[in-house]
Structures are given as structure tokens and as C-alpha cells.
């Protein structure tokens, strides 16, 4: 395949128009894996999982099913869940297949953008595993601009009976950099400067106050504080003065926006990869990604901007199809 080397895997998008197309391709993909004694995981909205079960009949017993609404609560959660699953099931010479679809219509634009960056990163994240990944997309439901992103983030596409390399596939690092642009904080947003370690306690006090005012409570507050704290510590350790953090709402999300004058992270792709468990760096932004609904890393002449978004409410959005 045209994806990265290492795990001998594939990462394909299935662009389907209807139930028969979905069932035909996904069913064949899974049956081929079962015939080769591969481990199979299918994560999708419940309605799609029902299609797969109906298609496979008795063969469905050999497939592990997971509701994508649970596994994809956050993009970071999903990556961790899939990597953990692969570590358990796709080692010791055993091969695996994953079918992964999630209901993008429930997502905010910032989350969909982060999802596509994650799909680009997937080409690297899963490249060390012997796994074939099939990502179905309902062309009737997924907007055209998102489908364009799908074509740029999947090395191979399946449309109808046609399997072909994606002509617009982009290098993952390039895609991520091009699809995360600097957003300026809104005028008048609450903010606080920080420039040394002794400022951190005051910054945490500010963040706690802002979260309380925005109604972030329960377990969410300390986790968001932890994620924001890592981004801020990163700016302190690796960034350059002046440094500032703003907190504001953007649609349904609370945004913690950290800026410093430094050039930023050389390869933003790195922030999508789980750090090696023995690594002495990289755990901070990884945690930030796990506890937020979207983590954006962008840089321009003004410096580095990291935005950590948390969805406060999901009202007014369309139900899962």
C-alpha cells in the first residue's frame, strides 16, 4: 500500500451510498479477515453495527463490536482505545482488522477538523501494527468538504467495487499543519500572563475561576485544569515570552487558548502520537488531547497558539442517524 511502512497494514476509506454498498464491502472485508484467522474489531454507530451483524449472520460471533458513541466520546479516547486493543490483539504475529465509523454529524466544526487531523495521524499511529483499517463514510450524510479531507487522509479509497490509491492523499504532517490555522482570541476575553514557574499557581487559580464561571464542574474541572496546565507548562518550558492564556467560549465549547512567542512544535503530528511509556517527554500534550474534545496546535509569525476545546453542551445538534 501507499501508507507508511512498518506494520504492513492498510488504511482505507469506504465511501458508500447506501446499506447494500456498506454491507457488501464491510462484510467481505471482515470475512476475508476471519478466513485468515485475524482478530476483528468493528466500532460504528449502533445502527451500522446491526447492518454488520445482519450481513455476517453466524460469523458475527467472531467479531468484537463496540458502540462508536462510547469509544469515540473524544478523539483522543478513541486513539487510546484502538492502540490498547491492538497491543492486546495484534501482537505475537497475529494480524488484525478494524472497521471504524463515527457519527460526525453530532460533532462541532472544531471537532470534525480535529477528527480529520487524527485520520491523517492514523497513518502513522497504526503503522507499527499489522492491521488493516477500513473507515466507512456515508456520502449522503458527510459534507463535501469533509469528504475532501477523507480523500487527503486515506491512502486508498473504495467507491463501489473500485479500490484505488487516493490521488489527493497528503503527507500526514503536511496535512495536519495545513489544517490547523491560528485563530486569534476574541477581543475582551479574560486572560492572564505568565512567565515563570512561580506564576503557575496563579494561572491555575485563574483557570479554576473561569471554569467555575463557565459551569464546568464535577470530574471535568480537574481534568480540564490538568490538560490546560500541561499546555501552559509546555509554553513555559519550550516557548518564549511573552506568554498568555485566555479563556472564552466559542459556540458550545469552552476554549483555553495558550500563546507564546516561540516557534512551536516542530511537527504537530507528534502531538497525536502516544508517547512511548518510557519517554521523558510528550506525556503532557498527550494528556491534553485525552481530556479535551479538540486540541489545536498552530503557529505563525506571532508565535505558537494551542487551543484546548471542551464541549460544554451538545444541545441543538442532530441526533445520531
Amino acid at each position: 500500500m501507499s501508507g507508511p511502512a512498518g506494520g504492513d497494514g492498510t488504511h482505507r476509506a469506504l465511501l458508500y451510498r447506501d446499506e447494500p454498498e456498506f454491507r457488501g464491502t464491510v462484510g467481505a472485508f471482515i470475512r476475508q479477515g476471519l478466513a485468515r484467522h485475524e482478530r476483528i474489531l468493528a466500532t460504528a454507530p449502533l445502527g451500522r453495527l446491526d447492518w454488520i451483524r445482519a450481513e455476517l449472520g453466524a460469523d458475527a460471533a467472531a467479531v468484537e463490536f463496540a458502540d462508536s458513541a462510547a469509544i469515540y466520546r473524544r478523539q483522543g479516547d478513541a486513539t487510546r482505545a484502538l492502540v490498547d486493543w491492538l497491543r492486546r490483539h495484534a501482537s505475537d504475529g497475529r494480524r488484525a482488522r478494524i472497521v471504524a465509523e463515527q457519527a460526525l454529524s453530532r460533532r462541532t466544526p472544531a471537532e470534525v477538523a480535529d477528527y480529520l487531523r487524527m485520520e491523517a495521524a492514523a497513518n502513522v499511529i497504526y503503522s507499527s501494527f499489522p492491521v488493516q483499517i477500513l473507515c466507512p463514510y456515508d456520502t449522503a450524510e458527510v459534507p463535501g468538504d469533509v469528504l475532501a479531507g477523507v480523500r487527503r487522509t486515506h491512502p486508498e479509497l473504495i467507491e463501489g467495487d473500485d479500490v484505488r490509491p487516493s490521488g489527493s492523499f497528503a503527507d500526514p504532517s503536511t496535512f495536519i499543519r495545513d489544517h490547523c490555522l491560528v485563530v486569534e482570541p476574541p477581543p475582551g476575553a479574560a486572560s492572564i500572563d505568565f512567565d515563570r514557574g512561580d506564576d503557575l499557581a496563579g494561572v491555575r487559580f485563574f483557570l479554576r475561576e473561569q471554569m467555575r464561571a463557565a459551569g464546568v464542574d464535577g470530574e471535568a474541572a480537574p481534568l480540564l485544569l490538568a490538560g490546560a496546565g500541561e499546555v501552559i507548562t509546555n509554553a513555559l518550558v519550550h516557548g518564549a515570552a511573552p506568554r498568555r492564556v485566555w479563556v472564552y467560549t466559542e459556540g458550545p465549547a469552552l476554549v483555553c487558548h495558550v500563546h507564546d512567542r516561540g516557534p512551536g512544535i516542530a511537527d504537530p503530528l507528534a502531538t497525536y502520537l502516544a508517547p512511548d511509556r518510557h519517554a521523558d517527554r510528550g506525556h503532557g500534550l498527550w494528556l491534553g488531547r485525552q481530556v479535551s474534545d479538540s486540541l489545536e496546535v498552530a503557529a505563525n509569525a506571532t508565535g505558537t497558539h494551542v487551543r484546548l476545546l471542551t464541549i460544554l453542551r451538545r444541545s441543538g445538534q442532530q441526533p445520531v442517524p
Binding site: P222, T233, A274, D280, G284
Partner: protein, 273 residues
């Protein structure tokens, strides 16, 4: 404070005295050091003074981290007046502290008026000079507390000159305290852990693990811990001899989640539910 440092504080009144004494002891607990508090009068009065200054003395006393002793208990009765005797005494006190798992020993004494055996400013200067040399030789830190109301200005200046600096109570509250527990050289952390007290955390952990390579850390009163601090714990655990282990106990739900999400794993770290 650094080991060997000899500071003095001059208090104006009883409020000031409470504040300064508490700040000195709190500084020791924030470093995880053993604090030897030399008091001229009744132990109960000294402890009440610390409590009034906001120090919870129960745990540090139980864990052997706070020692409240009379001048005679510390310096001998009659007091050692030769340097080598004083050095021998404090070398022993320091080695006992290290064996008990403390990274350092701090000494703070109330010099309310001139203490016995000192009867004149001249003798006091000789005494302080000898203490300075002892501190430097043994490698421990001390803060002497003086009642400014009982010293005239020239005397205060002479005393200040005998110390390497004058401490003030204007420091902000430390982010976290590292409190020793008596049981199995355990450790209780109270407060927040971030990159500013990461070095203190590492110093305390190394000292306690050197005394006993199995350490139980009570995280029940940790209100914030950054990933770097938690990684420090895992990295130190990774360097333990075989059979060594760190148990993380009583962690709050957010701290447990962060430990899980950050992805640290080690056979030498046990998370106790």
C-alpha cells in the same frame, strides 16, 4: 535554604514571632526535611505557637519530622562550648535524620533574650560563630530567631552580621508540604505538585527510598499534580533496586484518571485503591 546556611530572623512582637516561626517550620516541611526546633521554654507553648501560625503539628511530630527540643537536649547541659563536640553532636543528628529517610536537617532556635550559657553580646557572637562553623562542617541549615525588642540597634546589627542572611516572613505559602509518616517511612504529600516543586519532590523521594526502598505515598491531600511530577515518581521508581516499590495510595479520582491517561506503566509502581 541550602545546607550549611545560617540565617537569622528578628521578630517585632508575638504575632510576628508566630508568623516567622511557622514560616521557618513550613519551609522545612515543604522541603521534606527534618526540622529540629530548639525552644527555651515549655514544649507545649512552642507547639501552640506553631498551631496558631497555621502548622498542623500532629503528623510531623508522629513521623519524627518535627522535633521540639530544649536548648539543653540539643546542645548538652552544660552546653558544649567546643566546636568539635558540637560538630560530633550534629553529625550524629544528621546521620539519624538520613537513616530516618529525610533529605536534610534544619535547625531553628529561639534565642529569646540571650540563651544560657551566653551572658554577653561578645559571648553570643562567639557562640553564633561556632554554630556557623559547625553548620558548614556538618552541612545543615539553621535559622536563629531573635526578639528585636530585646536588642538595641548595634546589637541587632552585630547579630545579623554573624549570619549569612536575614530571613523574612514575606515568602508566599509553599505549594506543597512533604510530611513524613512514622509508619514504614511513608510519605504524605499535601498541596499541589508542578514544575516549581519537582526538584523538592525528587529530593524527598530519593532520601526516603535510600532509607527504605519500599515507599507508600499518600496522595489523598494532593489537589493538583502535573504530568511531570507524576513522571518523576515513575522515573525514580524505575531506578529502584529489585524488590523496591512505590505505592501510590488514596489518590483522588482526577489524579487516578491522569495517571491512567498519561500512560505511565511500571512494575515498580502500585496504585492502591
Amino acid at each position: 535554604m541550602v545546607s550549611g546556611e545560617h540565617l537569622c530572623v528578628l521578630y517585632q512582637d508575638q504575632d510576628d514571632r508566630r508568623r516567622l516561626t511557622a514560616a521557618v517550620v513550613r519551609g522545612g516541611l515543604a522541603a521534606g526535611d527534618r526540622v529540629m526546633y530548639v525552644v527555651p521554654g515549655a514544649r507545649e507553648v512552642a507547639l501552640a505557637r506553631l498551631e496558631a501560625g497555621g502548622i498542623e503539628t500532629g503528623r510531623p511530630l508522629d513521623g519524627g519530622q518535627l522535633l521540639v527540643q530544649s536548648f539543653g537536649e540539643v546542645y548538652g547541659d552544660p552546653a558544649t562550648l567546643d566546636l568539635s563536640g558540637l560538630v560530633a553532636r550534629f553529625r550524629l543528628a544528621l546521620s539519624e535524620s538520613v537513616a530516618a529517610g529525610f533529605p536534610g536537617l534544619r535547625l531553628t532556635g529561639e534565642m529569646g533574650g540571650y540563651p544560657w550559657p551566653v551572658e554577653s553580646l561578645e559571648q553570643l557572637v562567639r557562640w553564633e560563630r561556632m554554630v556557623s562553623r559547625m553548620l558548614g562542617e556538618v552541612g545543615i541549615a539553621a535559622i536563629c530567631q531573635y526578639d528585636q525588642g530585646r536588642l538595641d540597634e548595634p546589637a541587632a546589627a552585630v547579630i545579623a552580621a554573624e549570619h549569612s542572611g536575614v530571613a523574612t516572613s514575606g515568602q508566599r505559602l509553599p505549594l506543597a508540604l512533604f510530611i513524613a509518616s512514622a509508619a514504614s517511612l511513608a510519605l504524605r504529600i499535601e498541596g499541589e505538585l508542578d514544575l516549581t516543586n519537582g526538584p523538592a519532590l525528587a529530593r524527598v523521594l530519593r532520601a526516603r527510598l535510600a532509607a527504605r526502598p519500599r515507599l507508600r505515598i499518600d496522595l489523598g491531600a494532593v489537589t493538583f499534580a502535573d504530568v511531570g511530577s507524576l513522571r518523576e515518581i515513575y522515573q525514580i521508581a524505575a531506578g529502584l533496586p529489585s524488590g523496591g516499590q512505590i505505592t501510590l495510595a488514596n489518590a483522588t479520582e482526577p489524579v487516578r484518571r491522569i495517571l491512567d491517561l498519561a500512560g505511565f506503566r511500571s512494575d515498580a509502581v502500585v496504585i492502591e485503591s
